[in-house]
Symmetry: C2
Subunit: 343 residues, 2 copies
């Protein structure tokens, strides 16, 4: 019977088995697997352990070893379909290496970010993976992170001075725009997410670059900002489709925005791709299942997550300083973008 009202501890096991706590520790610690011990003793201990349903306290171990085997994962919002694969990527390699992951949703709110960061440090996670923006107004914590030997890797380009995994949004967007131009489009619009997002800025930039390179920037390129939702894509597209000379092609900031564009097109009797071509970003599962199927830029979100976690593990092993891994994107050509109709 456990000592006090508390949970069963190594002392209870020791008492039950009639040995010292050190002996119990020895049968549990992989580190001491090699020290010799009488089989009889070991058996007594093992028996006591499962009679009492004993589970060693990892907090105590962590305190001793200065290693919690936990990492923090900071994302804007897990409900945003972009993040789940990334989270899964992180969690998969984390758990395969014995790490737990603490999930934090920040809504890109600097106050929340700061709060989570401090909690994570106080609970002494071994490292942190941060994805998504909102960091502009976050007080710098690199010093504190350093003091507590807390690793950090960023997914994206919002946090320099730390290892990071990224994609080349400028190039990816430029390639998508060039695809549209190659199809014969001359009036193309970029229908966008939040102007404050570095991702959106890069994609808009790639779009402009493509227009300029093709000599299509006679008039100012049409770039509209909103946010990353279907609703935003719907509204923006509706507006544009009502113009006297509406764009014949839309490069959307992500698939959700593109889906909103689909709805707007349907509601204004515009056919895709006949009347207007649409290209998305992310290659969400739905891209393959909407009709027409959506041409979109595939982003290896899962791989970015797993790469980030691997970078973190490399940091733990002291592998060099800031690393930067750029993951490849790929334009997935489906049915939503075609040559503009003669009209």
């Amino acid at each position: 019977m456990p000592r006090s009202k508390g949970a069963v501890s190594i002392r209870d096991v020791a008492a039950a088995a009639g040995v010292s706590v050190a002996t119990v520790s020895r049968v549990l610690s992989p580190a001491t697997a090699d020290v010799p011990m009488r089989k009889e003793t070991r058996d007594k201990v093992v028996r006591a352990i499962d009679e009492l349903g004993y589970r060693p306290n990892d907090l105590a171990r962590a305190l001793l070893h200065h290693r919690t085997a936990a990492i923090g994962l900071v994302v804007p919002d897990i409900s945003n379909p972009y993040y789940p694969p990334l989270v899964r990527g992180v969690e998969d390699v984390a758990s395969s290496r014995g790490y737990r992951v603490v999930l934090c949703n920040t809504d890109r709110d600097p106050a929340k970010i700061t709060g989570y960061l401090d909690t994570l440090i106080k609970t002494r996670v071994d490292g942190i993976v941060v994805a998504g923006g909102g960091w502009a107004d976050v007080p710098d914590r690199t010093a504190v992170l350093g003091r507590y030997r807390t690793g950090l890797v960023a997914v994206g380009r919002h946090l320099t001075a730390h290892p990071s995994v990224r994609i080349d949004n400028v190039a990816a967007s430029r390639a998508a725009a060039e695809h549209l131009i190659g199809l014969g489009h001359r009036r193309i619009a970029f229908v966008g997410g939040p102007a404050s997002s570095t991702t959106v800025q890069d994609r808009a930039q790639g779009f402009r670059d493509a227009l300029k390179a093709s000599g299509l920037d006679g008039r100012a390129p049409v770039v509209r900002y909103g946010d990353f939702t279907e609703e935003s894509g719907y509204e923006l597209t509706r507006e544009m489709l009502r113009l006297a000379r509406p764009p014949t092609a839309l490069l959307c900031a992500n698939d959700r925005v593109a889906l909103g564009a689909y709805a707007a097109a349907a509601d204004t009797a515009c056919r895709i791709p006949d009347d207007v071509s649409v290209v998305g970003f992310d290659d969400t599962p739905i891209a393959r299942y909407v009709r027409p199927t959506l041409t979109t830029v595939a982003i290896p979100t899962y791989e970015m997550g797993s790469a980030a976690m691997r970078l973190l593990l490399a940091q733990f092993e002291g592998d060099g300083g800031p690393a930067l891994e750029t993951m490849p994107t790929r334009l997935v050509v489906r049915d939503s973008a075609a040559a503009p109709s003669a009209g």
Copy 2:
């Protein structure tokens, strides 16, 4: 300068401020906010704290207080669009009450479930929220959970003997089927997820109940199983649409399956809802944005998550035994289901 190679601890602060560790602890502990202390002393300590960038070690605190302020959240797969809102619901109320959440993806694999459960217990989380199935072959851990005073609440009906939050899938599915019947459909099929899922079983049951109640079960009701993906919905629907007398309406196990059905209909020149009506489950964001818009059963996933976390908090406060909270569902009527055409 910190004592050893280790991180800065309360002793370093004490040394730097020229006071004892007890004094430092007093300025940090909210519990001892009322004990009198010379302002000058407090200031010295505060200054030392932020000069050193000191952050108290919550592991040590947890060891003392037998409370980690962490909870485990066990889901089959965060990449499945059903779970993110639930996870967010849990995390929101958790963080608002000062709890961190450790995310675990099990893929419904009993071995993984068991592994995560043991890790969570060893790290002494205060409680666990479990959602999704795969528990049939998981060794019972209630005894151990009890020993370590680990709370647990289940989302769904897969784990009895614990408080849980659920929805009435039988009734919800029945209502959806009755909607179709009311529209005039006579040949309705249930196109399903995994047969092993209690959720699917309940939805199939509600479907059968509705048919029977309307005297429509002359022939055996058509129920097809697969999994919860677009692909599965696509294949199943394709098959059925090729039948001599294809169903005029499809009750799909979830929205992803319904989306697959949309694609299959498009590819076999079937119009929705003219040739075939489609009803989904979950009311995912896309439901509003596909065309035609999808009639579907809304499930308050976010609220289920937050309710589950609140139940857990109630357990911590020792509020009674097993509770059961049943959340309401709602049929959202949109454009994908209409009266069958005369043909």
